[in-house]
């Protein structure tokens, strides 16, 4: 149960980070923190006191891989943005209206 609470805290921290930070790398860290929180929630719900449900394990394995893929993808975006603006500050990308 405590890990479920921790997972929720992680998700909130991640959303806070994305909402307030301007550095694109920080934003990606925020996404990864949310991802970790969701995974933690899955595993903590799969635990019945004696053993863990293998279904949740397989879900989380794939989810970790997906999280890593998203991170790699987002970092590629940062590279491209950096090539154009010379900065990893998301505020430089504010020509679009958020």
């Amino acid at each position: 149960m405590i890990y479920s609470a921790t997972a929720m805290a992680l998700i909130l921290i991640g959303i806070y980070c994305i909402a307030t930070k301007h550095n694109m790398i920080k934003i990606i860290i925020g996404i990864e923190i949310i991802c970790a929180g969701v995974n933690l929630n899955f595993i903590s719900l799969a635990w019945d006191g004696q053993q863990s449900d293998p279904l949740a394990s397989s879900v989380v394995l794939v989810s970790i891989a997906i999280g890593a893929a998203i991170a790699a993808f987002a970092l590629a975006f940062v590279m491209n943005a950096f090539k154009q603006t010379g900065s990893s500050d998301a505020r430089k990308l504010r020509r679009l209206r958020w």
Binding site: A9, L10, I25, L40
Partner: protein, 83 residues
């Protein structure tokens, strides 16, 4: 209860604390390292929750590969900025 409750609290605290450090610290390298610590702590939590394979995968991918990816990107950016 197979594990003492105190340890669970300690690990939760470590996870949350390192997450907060990761987003609040200004130096991006420290952010990446802090993120790695958080991942390791989560891996321990996975192990305690009876999912050893997931724990190992978490260590390898999140604490390892993703952190290395971040550090590599930071390296590239700093090198470009200097030149």
């Amino acid at each position: 209860m197979p594990y003492p409750e105190l340890l669970e609290y300690a690990i939760s605290l470590l996870i949350i604390a390192s997450a907060i450090v990761a987003i609040e610290v200004r130096d991006l390298v420290r952010t990446a390292i802090s993120f790695s610590i958080m991942s390791i702590a989560i891996a321990i939590a996975f192990y305690m929750l009876g999912a050893p394979y997931v724990s190992a995968f978490q260590l390898a991918v999140n604490a390892g590969a993703v952190t290395v990816l971040f550090l590599a990107l930071l390296h590239v950016i700093q090198k470009r900025r200097r030149s």
